[in-house]
């Protein structure tokens, strides 16, 4: 196991742990206002300091992790659940009208960056975490469809697929039995990368007010609140920013490490 895999796994599980623990315990009530203690820099009572309402930043970061992870995870789920079958289908029917339609559809979605989708959705349905999930999720669909199709196409050329066809297996069965298990590694790696991109996107959407709405704490909105106070209370901006960086860095390192660890070529060499 590589160093990046271990470091990535440690950082990611740290954030995950913080999110899970926040369900049962936070140092303070994350929503409790305490004006007398506002804008404290990090200290023994408030490890990450307090914000302009005197709320405990450490508790807010813990609960904010929950929001980030939930949004990004569901968005990756949407992308995989729809994108992978589309990619498998396109590859199985390579060159057909269906393939062409799926791929053109993908190109079209790529023309709408997730922020633009979010703008469209909020313009119509209003801002909120659910809409942020949908916006990021829709953008993930072509990512997974494309990567699945690409990998599946090269697998379809392999002789073990021909052997399966000679054994009378149909495209759907071959896709499930032979193609999917052999692209699974790739999807896991891409999944962690999209997960980290999702965290970034969620933060961005919350920052401009299109993501999770108050009182749900989110890292992006903590940064938006900090903007006018950054000159006299820099910790308000530093701490949520570092939380995002640690999470995204952890996930990216995990993805890189997994890619090396799961690479069948390297595995065979080890075996």
């Amino acid at each position: 196991m590589s160093r990046s895999l271990i470091l990535g796994a440690c950082l990611s599980s740290l954030v995950l742990l913080a999110a899970l623990v926040s369900f049962v315990w936070t140092p303070y009530d994350y929503a409790a206002l305490n004006i007398p203690e506002k804008l404290q820099p990090p200290n023994a009572q408030h490890w990450f300091g307090t914000d302009h309402f005197g709320r405990d930043m450490f508790s807010m970061i813990m609960v904010g992790a929950r929001t980030s992870i939930a949004v990004a995870l569901v968005a990756v789920g949407i992308g995989m659940a729809l994108g992978v079958p589309l990619g498998l289908t396109a590859a199985a029917r390579k060159g057909s009208l269906l393939d062409e339609l799926i791929m053109r559809g993908n190109d079209l979605v790529f023309a709408f960056p997730s922020l633009v989708i979010a703008i469209l959705i909020t313009a119509v349905f209003g801002a909120g975490a659910i809409n942020a999930i949908i916006a990021i999720g829709i953008f993930n669909i072509p990512v997974f469809a494309r990567i699945t199709r690409g990998a599946a196409l090269s697998l379809w050329e392999r002789e073990f697929i021909l052997a399966a066809r000679v054994s009378g297996k149909g495209a759907a069965r071959i896709s499930a039995e032979h193609i999917l298990p052999n692209v699974a590694n790739l999807l896991i790696v891409q999944g962690t990368i999209q997960f980290s991109l999702g965290i970034l996107a969620e933060a961005g959407l919350s920052y401009v007010g299109l993501g999770a709405q108050p009182p749900t704490p989110s890292w992006g909105r903590m940064l938006a609140d900090a903007q006018t106070m950054v000159s006299f209370a820099p910790h308000l901006a530093l701490i949520p920013g570092l939380a995002i960086i640690v999470t995204v860095l952890g996930l990216n390192l995990l993805g890189d490490g997994l890619r090396d660890w799961l690479d069948p070529r390297i595995r065979v060499a080890r075996a």
């Binding site: 021909l162 052997a163 399966a164 000679v166 054994s167 009378g168 297996k169 032979h178 052999n182």
Partner: protein, 532 residues
């Protein structure tokens, strides 16, 4: 005085010994062939001479080019030597050229990088060498890109690059392995001519002993990074000492004896089959043109008969194989197995499919790496209405694995635990497990080393005895087809140009193309007679 002197060359990569005490020498105008099976270190020897060994390689010994000790040369000195004093030709012409540069630029680069002459003269020299290798500029302008040329033509460009500055030493690493037999003959002829004309030394790396016997003045036989035997070609052929050398020669010309085919009624009937591919449209609203890959092919294969199908790449033999297997629909004609259509109403007929199985070429790509052997070999059970289960299934797997020379214990292993030859045995077990009436071998021994190939051919002969096999053996390798089939068909440009009893087709070919094919194939000297 020799041109290149390799003395006790040892090479290890990160502590793993790759070459051990390799010695050989080449004189000007001489062709030295280094031969051996995969993993023998023959290509690594060539790269070591070029000082292009992979990172982490440690070299020990002596490499002497004329008076120059290559191992003492700095990297800058070696850059000056490479391309100018030592030229190199590689195995894979399809990928050896930069796809985004023209062939003229790539040939001229050899000259310009060494500042050997001003650009204008370099251009003239590039035209000259390209003409010499058979690509005259009036037919093949310097502005061509590699993708506009065939494999043989690309190999000629690679050779032109290597000889543009008239190097004293040319190294050719499997230069014809990726080429068709007629193209191979032309390239070998070209290399021989260049050696005489420029008085170059040629270090030729090849696994093909027929090529070796045909070309080389000296032979060096390698195994596991060591030279097991070397000497003048004529001498080695007559007095080979080392058992490994003998085994190699024996395996290369390996003959098997097949049981007499039963005289019986046709099993596979192919009638007037046509298979067209749509070509991309030339202009936007043209009606698309078609490429006829299989053109009115008709033949019959009798039960118990072993039929061969030979032809060069692109002749349509793979397409025909896929049509017979029912993997692709045909545009005309019918294919019947045991009287039933393989394709009925544009849908593959499953009842027919269970009577056929196939063994493919690539022992590495033929198996899903995530499944165990037991699951791999039982995949054809999917075709059966009531596949065997439980202990019956286990017994069938064990029986098949034993039949192909493996043990029943192997069924729990993953495919990466097996060698190439063992994988091909597993592929045969998979094909046999539902006792098909017909097996197609699609280049099934082409990717194997000669010694392993000989074993697989023996296995096939044994299985013919035990299971009364009927098969269609598709291959580009004439010598293999000659020994493993009763009857043979020669295919060219989608058509069967000749067919008949294997022995009579080979000894007395009628069609001009068959004659060319047989003449072009390098011949292995009859060792049996020489040794005796």
């Amino acid at each position: 005085m020799s041109l290149l002197e390799v003395n006790n060359l040892s090479l290890s990569i990160h502590g793993t010994g790759i070459l051990k005490q390799v010695s050989l020498s080449i004189a000007p105008g001489q062709i030295v062939a280094v031969t051996g099976e995969s993993g023998s270190g023959k290509s690594m020897t060539a790269l070591a001479v070029m000082q292009l060994s992979p990172n982490g390689a440690e070299i020990d010994g002596a490499l002497q080019l004329n008076d120059l000790s290559l191992l003492n040369c700095s990297e800058a000195d070696m850059c000056a030597l490479r391309g100018a004093s030592i030229g190199m030709v590689f195995q894979e012409p399809m990928t050896a050229l930069n796809p985004v540069n023209t062939i003229g630029d790539q040939v001229m680069e050899t000259i310009l990088i060494h500042k050997a002459m001003p650009p204008k003269q370099a251009r003239a020299r590039a035209e000259e060498v390209l003409t010499r290798v058979g690509l005259p500029p009036d037919q093949f302008p310097l502005s061509r890109y590699p993708h506009e040329l065939s494999g043989g033509q690309r190999q000629r460009v690679v050779i032109a690059m290597a000889i543009a500055l008239r190097p004293k030493l040319l190294i050719a690493d499997e230069p014809t392995t990726a080429l068709d037999v007629t193209t191979q003959a032309q390239i070998l002829e070209l290399l021989k001519g260049l050696v005489t004309e420029y008085n170059m030394g040629l270090l030729m790396i090849t696994h093909d002993l027929a090529v070796v016997a045909d070309m080389a003045d000296q032979i060096v036989v390698m195994r596991h990074g060591e030279v097991v035997e070397s000497g003048a070609t004529g001498h080695i052929l007559k007095h080979m000492q080392h058992p490994y050398t003998r085994m190699l020669f024996e395996a290369s010309g390996h003959q098997v004896s097949l049981p007499e085919p039963a005289k019986s009624r046709p099993l596979l009937e192919v009638t007037n089959v046509i298979r067209d591919y749509r070509l991309p449209r030339k202009r936007l609203f043209d009606t698309p043109e078609h490429h006829r890959a299989v053109d009115h092919v008709s033949f019959a294969l009798n039960r118990g008969e072993r039929l061969g199908l030979v032809g060069e790449s692109g002749c349509g033999k793979s397409t025909l194989t896929k049509a017979i297997l029912g993997l692709e629909d045909v545009q005309g004609g019918t294919i019947r197995l045991d009287g039933q259509l393989v394709f009925s109403g544009h849908k593959p007929n499953l009842a027919v499919r269970r009577k056929m199985q196939v063994v493919f070429q690539d022992p590495y790509g033929s198996f899903n790496p995530r499944h165990r052997v037991a699951r791999l070999v039982t995949e054809p059970f999917y075709l059966l209405d009531s596949p065997p289960t439980g202990s019956e299934r286990q017994d069938r797997i064990a029986e098949m694995l034993t039949a192909v020379g493996l043990t029943p214990d192997d069924m729990g292993k993953y495919i990466h635990e097996f060698s190439g030859g063992q994988r091909q045995r597993i592929a045969i077990a998979r094909a046999l497990i539902i006792r098909p009436e017909l097996i197609l071998f699609d280049e099934a021994v082409s990717a194997l080393d000669v010694s392993v190939r000989a074993q697989i051919l023996d296995l096939l002969a044994e299985l013919c005895e035990a299971y009364d096999l009927t098969y269609l053996f598709i291959s580009h390798d004439l010598s293999v087809v000659r020994t493993i089939t009763d009857r043979v068909m020669v295919m060219r440009a989608g058509k069967i140009v000749e067919e008949g009893d294997t022995e009579s087709v080979f000894s007395d070919p009628q069609h001009q193309y068959t004659k060319n094919l047989i003449n072009a194939a390098p011949k292995l000297p009859d060792i049996g007679q020489i040794v005796a």
